[in-house]
Symmetry: none
Subunit: 124 residues, 4 copies
Amino acid sequence: MPWPLNSDRPIYAQLIEHIQTDIVSGKYQAGEKLPSVRELAADAGVNPNTMQKALSELERNNLVHSQRTSGRFITEDVTMIQDIKNQLAREQISEFFTHMKQLGFQEKETLQLITESVKEEDHE
Amino acid sequence: MPWPLNSDRPIYAQLIEHIQTDIVSGKYQAGEKLPSVRELAADAGVNPNTMQKALSELERNNLVHSQRTSGRFITEDVTMIQDIKNQLAREQISEFFTHMKQLGFQEKETLQLITESVKEEDHE
Amino acid sequence: MPWPLNSDRPIYAQLIEHIQTDIVSGKYQAGEKLPSVRELAADAGVNPNTMQKALSELERNNLVHSQRTSGRFITEDVTMIQDIKNQLAREQISEFFTHMKQLGFQEKETLQLITESVKEEDHE
Amino acid sequence: MPWPLNSDRPIYAQLIEHIQTDIVSGKYQAGEKLPSVRELAADAGVNPNTMQKALSELERNNLVHSQRTSGRFITEDVTMIQDIKNQLAREQISEFFTHMKQLGFQEKETLQLITESVKEEDHE
DNA sequence: GTGGTCTAGACCACT
DNA sequence: GTGGTCTAGACCACC
């Protein structure tokens, strides 16, 4: 599973987002050990230094912390993970509304469309 | 303002999407004349051949049609424009739910969040 | 004037401290343009990437901000500069007391010594 | 715990300073026997020859003297130890003022800051 | 083996 | 010429 990387944003920023998603979605559990920098870099197909930069940024948000000789670990602060999760959700929602407005839908129209969309799927 | 182009999808496909958005959002009105291929290509920062391919694709969907000697025009079939608009909206909604699921939100949670989000903005 | 760099702390950390000192001491004025990354790196005798890392860290503290194509500038927030100045002073004081304690001087003895020291210099 | 050694001053000079500090601070008592050169060198993570040079230098200051077959001993001249202690303190104070001046603090400002600093700690 | 740091050299977008 | 990003490859300390 090669990671999906664009060229319109810095790679390290996309790596950050990807790893954040893996943490908040529960793929990596709180307190769990992350794969090594080199391993993650190989998985993503990027230079280890680029992955290092992404992980260092995550450390500044205290989402992960490094244990100098034994590896990197996800924070055990589940509240913080929840906060980041909600923040990312808010960003997704904001971006979604932006796209819909570009298509010419006002917020209430968008809300109506999405509500109908969920109801339809209920019937499936 | 160069167009935002990725490298993970064919350029011409991104051009199609961009022009479609401009049409359904009303930036280009039904029946209106489009700028020349050269002009559009320059705006997008792509080779005119690539833009040509995108426009040809749009013609196959009957969204635009070329008038031999006088240029390309947007269709006057507003119903068709509406259909495309709704289709693009459905794609945005689908993609949005996909992202939210990656974050760990079920559809009903997402619906609840987005509903709250709109209410909050009403109060502003 | 080659910069004094140790090997017992990361070079980039020493660069940060050096530049901070130049800012709070007034060598670089608020709002002033910094020399380019390449120039600063040459002055310090380090790789431009290392200097880049140091400057990026300073940007995270909002002490400097970069104007993508025209260079880096010192913040115009003189209050923030004062705050950093006081913080660095507190660190110096703390470190000084630590050294004096290693020599066997309690805080009050140290205070007495330093007071006498200033008086003596007054007479010079 | 390896000793903290820089590369901007000769290693042997840093060893001298370290041992001097241990003597004046009372970690090594007057008249006490020093560990062997080999042991000290191992502790500091340096070549025994380098440690030997440092100890010889200390002997020239009469701070330690060697007893042919039984090892090296700290001087029993407590007055001399006091003098060295005061000299090292003066150096620390001088260096401290230098750093504060680099930050832009005059001596009187520094004195005021450090006085306040001690008072604050009294209240804790 | 781990994370951390540093260098050298390259390319990009912007203006 | 500017800042920003990325790669390749190296060395270090720690255990």
